[in-house]
């Protein structure tokens, strides 16, 4: 199995890198961009075949290491 974890900054946490990306896109003429937020995608290869159990374990990994709850949220996809 694979787990895909998206880690992103919580709403309200300023994202200077996202702001720089939005600024660069504007400079390139993409004026429709009103904001950019930058996050991370983490892919894990997992043993086992119980998707629910895997998700519970990955959720624990997110809380313990993969995200920082002070500034980040995350979502998990198991495939």
């Amino acid at each position: 199995m694979k787990a895909k974890i998206h880690v992103y900054l919580k709403p309200g946490v300023l994202d200077p890198q996202g702001a720089a990306v939005a600024g660069a896109l504007h400079n390139m003429g993409y004026e429709e961009v009103t904001a950019a937020r930058q996050g991370k995608l983490i892919e894990l290869d997992l043993t086992g075949d119980d998707a629910d159990a895997a998700k519970a374990r990955v959720d624990e990994m997110c809380q313990k290491l993969l995200s920082n709850p002070v500034i980040e949220s995350y979502s998990i996809e198991i495939a």
């Binding site: 309200g12 946490v13 300023l14 200077p16 890198q17 720089a20 313990k64 290491l65 993969l66 920082n68 002070v70 500034i71």
Partner: protein, 220 residues
């Protein structure tokens, strides 16, 4: 006072920390590798130095805060013993949950390396007591991720409790409320982005960091 400096792969201020502690106490601190699971017996003061532990992978300080030695540091802090984290050490302390908040990419997106004017916000701590009537310092900073963030409620709380120890005179990184250094509620764990260990000798270009170590380590 017996001291220990924790060394991670990628620490690069561990020697400066060692030398600053030795200068003030006359005793060499133990250099403790991150894969150890215990501090040397009798350790009183623990310093987590600056650097780029684990290459800053994932988040600055994230891996280091989960390394083998950290439970011993957390347990040591729980006894009320002094712990100081500088720069990457500050990031490790927030990641480990010993200090509130988080350190994010500098608002200007660039690495800043300069002498930073600081204001002592709380001179009545075990880290600042020897500064006397001095309230403004110059301490070097050198970081890419020193932008202190916490939600408004947390900021109000730590300000109210006197946990904000240092503020920038000229905010170099976008830190909320100009915060440069915070301590825990009990007042025995301090994290700061500026490097006091790089300001303990005239040859460093200043000695404003010396009184911090003297406050902590109690030399005459």
């Amino acid at each position: 006072m017996k001291s220990a400096v924790i060394v991670f792969p990628g620490s690069n201020c561990d020697r400066d920390a060692h030398d600053a502690i030795e200068r003030v106490t006359g005793e060499k601190p133990a250099m403790v590798w991150h894969q150890e699971s215990e501090l040397p017996e009798g350790t009183e003061f623990v310093m987590i130095p600056g650097g780029f532990s684990y290459g800053d992978y994932l988040r600055c300080g994230a891996m280091a805060s989960r390394s083998a030695i950290l439970p011993a540091v957390v347990a040591h802090a729980a006894t009320g013993a002094p712990v100081l984290g500088v720069c990457n050490g500050f990031q490790i302390l927030t990641e480990s949950g010993l200090l509130p908040g988080a350190l994010m990419r500098n608002a200007g997106l660039t690495f800043v390396c300069e002498k930073a004017p600081l204001k002592i916000d709380n001179g009545n701590t075990r880290f600042t007591s020897r500064y006397g009537s001095t309230s403004e310092l110059i301490i070097p900073i050198a970081h890419h991720d020193g932008n202190y963030f916490a939600d408004a409620e947390t900021l109000d709380r730590i300000e109210g409790e006197g946990q904000v120890v240092f503020r920038y005179g000229n905010n170099p990184n976008g830190s909320q409320r100009d915060i440069a250094g915070v301590m825990n509620e009990q007042g025995n764990v301090l994290g700061m982005m500026p490097h006091p260990e790089r300001a303990v000798d005239e040859k460093h270009g200043g000695t404003d960091g010396l009184a911090l170590f003297e406050s902590l380590l109690g030399s005459a």
